[in-house]
């Protein structure tokens, strides 16, 4: 970089005998390597310890969150029992409604995000056109802008728009599933686009050329050549979008109306109040569900490019 020859490491011109220096360096290197391994492993510990403890304590036979009283599945049973109309302390009916709402929002927003994300990925991969970089920047911004500004600005946008529509239409539209789905599509479409684009970049352009030479038009080429090849990318992107939608709290929180409580909004309400094993159990189920989907998504993305680009 900017270093002049005079600023070379002082070790080079050191007067210590070479062998002694090498010995000292070997010890230093061993120590450094040890410290390095410990610090990187502690990074993993930091990432995983809370998750492991959360799962562990969801099986704790007691309400304590710091002492282990033995193994039980009663918190899970509590959730499922009241689903079957048995006696339980947990408000399972509300939970199940929230799960249903989450799935509805997740499926709808994923479907739209996939259609939009795939088309925009095709567009960005195919050609250059004026404003292409702006579109790229716009997609990046939807990922990086704080969720709170996205949620609030969209909530205000809908309020203004619905007030306007309300002047002509009875009844005035209300925020609900529609607004939540729209908000989710805004921040998930980028993820689909990124994954599909990576897939398109791996695609051999000669396949498309060959089909064109054989007289297939653009539409046929897309459905017979491009689409089957990028399908794993679309599925992987869909799983990411679905997971993001299921897990989203902030944007949903600002856009939801009456009766559209999703699972994260429901859980947020619970855990603002207290820390209990029921919530541990619900959180564990949520964690496992998202891990499963992401595992599948990563596998699909990795199939073609082994151990590169996660």
């Amino acid at each position: 970089m900017a270093s002049s020859p005079a600023a070379l490491p002082s070790a080079v011109s050191s007067s210590v005998p070479a062998t002694a220096r090498r010995d000292r360096d070997a010890v230093g290197r061993a120590l450094a390597r040890l410290g390095f391994t410990i610090s990187s492993l502690s990074g993993y510990f930091f990432l995983w310890a809370p998750i492991v403890l959360l799962i562990l304590f969801s099986f704790n036979d007691g309400r304590s969150v710091n002492t282990w009283f033995g193994f039980t599945t009663r918190w899970y049973e509590g959730i499922f029992d009241s689903a079957l109309d048995k006696q339980s302390s947990f408000q399972t009916a509300a939970l199940l409604r929230a799960v249903g709402n989450s799935l509805l929002v997740g499926l709808a927003s994923t479907a739209i995000a996939c259609a939009l994300g795939t088309t925009v990925a095709l567009s960005l991969a195919r050609g250059t056109f004026p404003g292409r970089r702006w579109l790229d920047a716009l997609l990046l911004m939807t990922v990086i802008f704080p969720e709170i500004t996205q949620g609030i600005s969209l909530a205000i946008f809908f309020k203004v728009a619905f007030d306007g529509i309300g002047l002509f239409l009875e009844p005035r539209p209300q925020p609900g599933f529609g607004t939540i789905i729209i908000g989710h599509v805004v921040f998930t479409v980028s993820y689909v686009a990124i994954v599909v684009r990576a897939r398109l970049a791996d695609m051999n352009p000669r396949l498309d050329e060959a089909a064109a030479d054989l007289g297939a038009d653009g539409w046929t080429r897309f459905w017979l050549i491009t689409f089957p090849l990028i399908l794993p990318g679309i599925v992987a992107g869909a799983l990411l979008a679905f997971t993001l939608s299921l897990d989203d709290f902030v944007v949903t929180f600002f856009l939801s109306g009456v009766g559209t409580t999703t699972l994260p909004v429901f859980v947020y309400g619970l855990l603002k109040v207290s820390v209990t094993p029921d919530i541990n159990a619900v959180s564990t189920l949520m964690l496992l569900a998202s891990m499963l989907m992401i595992g599948v998504s990563l596998l699909l993305q990795n199939r073609n490019n082994q151990d590169r680009n996660f």
Binding site: S40, P50, L53, V65, T119, R126, I148, G218, M286, M291
Partner: protein, 310 residues
Amino acid sequence: MPQTTADAEDPLSVSPQDGWTPASQPTWRAWLARHSAVLLSLPTLLWLLIFFVAPLLIILMMSVMTRGAGGVPQLPLTLEHYDRTFNIFGVVLNRSLWIAFWTTLACLLLAYPMAVFIRTRHKPWVRSLALFLVVLPFWTNFLARTYAWRMLLGNEGIINSLLARLGLTEHGLQLLNTELAVMIGLVYGFLPFMVLPIYASVERFDFRYVEAATDLGANYWHTFWRVMLPMTLPGVLAGCVLVFVPSIGAFVTPDLLGGRSGLMIGNLINSQFKGTGNMPLGAAMSVVLLAFVLLPLAAYLRMNREERLN
């Protein structure tokens, strides 16, 4: 960019000038094929312009309007909300910046060794697993993970009961509802954002440079400071931006872990839009937050472009 327009035609489509286009092909199909890239981008572009850009413009407009009766913004235009954001709420703004800064630094110190650790695994499957273990928590439910820290840090939590059992503390430490708790939660949430870009840089880094430096007599630290760090700096900078930006706009983490003393700008914005808040003031705070998000981002992108030009 002037040169982009030259390439606007779909390079894969048969252009009409070529002379052998079947006469039966309708001209509108040729037109479609020629403009396919632009047309494919339109649905997403419109979606983002309406549901992402327009809401932000509304916020921007609202931030310079006067607070009217019932919180409805009205004329005349004023800058008083910005004045209040910086003066009365300067404490919170300051705290948000500091929390984001320390979060970024802590992430960097944890992530760099982790990235090198992953890179230096010899077996490909170990490397994939090590990477997978970093990526997976990022994709799991954010609420559930933050909640896990509530369980760990509480007065009755695992950390406090462990400290008490070891006889290190008598009354238990106040961990939850502090700035420290917010930082821990943010580091925990955004650590993968730091590990992944650094890993991408370290992966490209040729470790023979380390050997060369060692052969030339540089010790461990010199090798790191003068060779490895400068060459992996792009990843480090990308990671810093990716952690700093969502940290400063955080809302859920300070809400669940910070209590009163860990209040951040996101929480203030939220309270302005709920109940009897001051919407123009909240809008001004959002604009200030966006400025703090866009500045590091723009600086990074600019630096990146200059680097590529060199």
